[in-house]
Structures are given as C-alpha cells and as structure tokens.
C-alpha cells in the first residue's frame, strides 16, 4: 500500500487510530533503519529532524510494550526494548503547562509543554496569541516553523469550541 508521507501541515496524514506508524528497527544494522522505502533512516535525532523537514512530527512507539517514546532514543525507557518503530503525530494536542518568558528587550514569548493525543509530551511554544494568554488546557495544533538552525515544531491554538473532525482519508 502506497502512502503519502510528506505534507506540510502535519495534519490529516493517513492515520491508524489516532496515530500512524511505519518503518522500524533492523537488528544488527547498528542504527535505526526504517523499513519503509520513503521513511527517514539514521540516528534517532536525525530521523526526527528529517520528519520535521518534511513538515511532520515524528516520534517512536515500542513494539514490545506499546509505550509512546519521546524524545527519540535507541531503546524504550519503559521496558528496555530496542524494537522501536517510528510514527507521526496527527498534530493535535493540549497545553499541559505554560509560561511567558519576559526579557528586558522584546515581547514576552511562550514556552509550553504540550500533550499530544498520541500520548507523548514535548516542550514547544504556542504562537498566534500573546504569550501570557496561552492557558493550560488549551487545544492546539502542530505546525512547523523554519528557523536559522532548522525546522522547529510549534503549536497554534485550535478554534474553540471543538472543530469538526477532519476527514480520515488522506489526500490522494
């Protein structure tokens, strides 16, 4: 089955349940090798970076204990298995904790911890509203920003109240 992998929104890419997976770890290769023909391969951080370059938020799932793993690594911190597979997030999350960082020069900027629907938590920032107005519990959606050091995962508020569900069908 052929899937489209790289879309810029990071959203509504073909999902299986709430998340999608492909690729995996090949024993004896000494590095993460993702089986799927168009999946990124390499060290965990490199794979993550390449997903981001493709506009998507990659993370791992343990094939043995089903734990979601973020940040990327070479073994599951829950059960110790090295059998991790890569998946991409649907991009929907909720702000778990938030702060507005003030400085003497410039506007305050947001730093947040975001819980994604798939069960991973990451540090990021919420853009599109003033930093002080980002609230715990706010529903947010993943986007990618190009910065000097490369692409960065950020979040923007989702319309409240709840948006209608997006189509499960990938654009094809």
């Amino acid at each position: 089955m052929r899937r489209r992998f790289f879309r810029c929104s990071g959203e509504s890419y073909r999902t299986v349940g709430a998340w999608s997976f492909r690729g995996g770890y090949e024993e004896g290769k000494g590095e993460i090798a993702v089986a799927s023909e168009d999946a990124p391969a390499g060290a965990p951080a490199e794979v993550y970076g390449r997903y981001l370059e493709g506009g998507r938020l990659g993370f791992q799932r343990c094939r043995d204990c089903s734990s979601m793993v973020f940040y990327p690594r070479v073994l599951c911190p829950v059960c110790g298995s090295v059998d991790l597979e890569w998946g991409t997030s649907g991009g929907r999350g909720v702000v778990y904790a938030t702060t507005a960082v003030h400085s003497r020069d410039g506007e305050p900027y947001n730093v947040a911890l975001v819980d994604l629907e798939e069960g991973i938590r990451m540090m990021s920032r919420v853009e599109g509203i003033p930093a002080e107005e980002v609230e715990v519990g706010r529903r947010v959606r993943f986007e990618v920003r190009e910065e000097d050091d490369g692409p960065v995962a950020v979040f923007v508020p989702m319309a409240e109240p709840e948006e209608p569900e997006e189509s499960e069908e990938p654009a094809r």
């Binding site: 904790a97 702060t99 507005a100 960082v101 730093v111």
Partner: protein
Amino acid sequence: MSPRGRAAIVGVAESDLGEVGPGLTPLDLIGQATFRALDDAGLEKEDVDGLFSASAYYHMPTLSMGEYLGIRPRYSDATSMGGSSFVSHLFHAAVAIDAGLCEVALIAYGSTQRSSGGRLVSGSETLPYEAPYRPRYPVSMYALAASRHMYEYGTTREQLAEVAVAAREWAKLNPKAFVRDDLSVEDVLDSRMISSPLSVLDCCLVTDGGGAVLVTSSERARDLRKPPVYLLGAGEAHWHRNISQMPDLTVSAAAESGPQAYRMAKLGPEAVNVALLYDAFTINTVLFLEDLGFCEKGEGGAFVSGGRISPGGELAVNTNGGGLSYNHPGMYGLLLLVEAARQVRGECGERQVAGANVALVHGNGGVLSSQVSAVLGSEETL
C-alpha cells in the same frame, strides 16, 4: 544494617557570604569554610580522610579541593545532582564511614556567582528537544510546574508570594541573611515578571557563598567539641533530568525520597520540628511540603498562607531565610545542612526553634529533578 544514628555532623560553617568581592575564588571560599568548620568541630585538617563536593566551576571538584586544602583523601565522592548533591553527600558519607571507607568526611562548596557577574553558573547542558524554545534555565522550568499546580489545584500567585514573605520574616531574624527589608505579598506580585507566573521575588537570590560540613562516626562524634547532630535517615530519588520528561509537574521525586528517609529515621513528618526545604523558587516550598507529607497534594498553597510557615507559625520552614532571602550561591544544598545542624544544636539565637530535636533537610537539584531528603536529630532522638 541501617545507617540510622551511625554517623553525625560534628562541624559546620559558612564561608563569607553575600558579595565577597572580586579576587576571591570558589576554592578560597571552600578554604574559609573548611577552616571554620574544623574549628567548630575541634578537628584538624589531618583528621579529614574523605572529600565530598560538587561544583559548577570545577570539573573534578574533590581533586581541586584536595589539592587546594592539602588533603589526600582515601575516599572521594563528587556525586553531581545539582543543588541536592550535598544532602546526598551527607548520606553517602555516613554510609562510607559506617563501612570503614573513611573516618572524617569533609563536604564543602563554594561559589562566587554574584561577584563574577551575577549570572547563574549552571554548567547545564540543554536538551536539543527543548533548546529551540529558549526557556530561561532554570526559572522557566519551575514556572511551568507552577502553572500546572495553579491549574490543577487553584494555587494562586498570592499563595506563592506568601512563601517569599515567610522566608523574609525568617531572614529578618538572621544577621547573615543577604536581604532583610520588609516584604509584602503585594511587593512580590508587583515585582518584575521573569517567567510567568514567577516574578523576580519568587526567585532565589544570586549570591556568593559556600560552606563546609564535617561528618564522622557517632562514637568519635561524642568526643568532639559540639553536640553531635545525628543522621537518622536519608533517601534520594530522581525521575527525570529535563522538565519535558517529568511525569507529573505537580509531584516531585520528594514523594519517594521523603518516605524513604522517614522510614529509615523511624519517624514521620509530625515529628519534624524544623524543615529546611530547598527554595530556589516559591513553588518549591509548596511542592515539597506536599510531597514530604506536611499536607495533602494540592493543599500546599493554603498551607503556606496566613503566616503558617513564618516565625511563630505552625511549622518552622527555612529558618535561615532560605534561598529566597538568606543566600543562594548557585547551589544551596550545603547551606541547608549548616542551618539544620545549628537548629538541632540550639545555636540559632533569635530564630531558634524551641526544642528543635528533629530537622528535615530536603535538597532539590536540576529542574525539580533530583530530590534528596535527610532527617537529622539530637542525642535524645537516637
């Protein structure tokens, strides 16, 4: 065999504190504190055969310290877990002494953080998955925890400010406290925001300073100058290094280290006369009071309000004025031990807690990461 009561603190001292001026190095402060602690204990430098330290300045701190002081230890431990390290060193020293690996342990620390520019020398690497978002280390991490605690339990900025006010009230009773001016809840709320909800007065001081603690076996301790302050119990735990990996931002690993220390000490929070809790930020005191069993989870904000942890309140917390108002030289854990030992000895003058036989010391390191608890007691608690 349980280490309960097997080793004791026999000498404590601070180095010069506050702003020591240019020229003095962190090792100079360690030298000052060591000399004073030896005098406090009635020991000689030659008696020391175990060295314990952690540092943001010296990559191999016990080596630097041994060389500077002219001590060739037979046991050395540079466990590095941030500000909690020194409470951990006390635990490790007690066990090493009990095992015969050394007889007199010197735990020492020094920092010239204020005189060398006022910036926190954290020596901390940044996780690549956090770095792009430029959290201000470490305050933003504690701010995130505060935001979550406020969301889950309705904790308010006013309640956090009460922690700073209580610390200041204690500091007024401590001649060595760096800041002793009046402070109100409104002052804290109106002060410059650093990383919301934490303003500058929710954050610890940036000072120079250091200290030294001498530990030996209980047998030897009884022959020395001052009454021994026994280590009754200790526990250490860490569950994460980076804030994005902390399982629940409202529960620290003190919920594990505390009960471990109480079990070993064969007592609980109700027996504690004075609590020295690592208050790098106001939210710390709230979290640790909860995690260490002084109140239920979520009730910390109410617990600290209305002067209940101030002088004359229900529980004596951070009687030296804490990292918020006394001194916070980069890492504060060693100074917790100094104050706890003095309280148990009854040497604290105006701020002395009457009948302080049991002191709880709780060290925090990293970003709510490392948690180390120790219960200290006087002779009559054995």
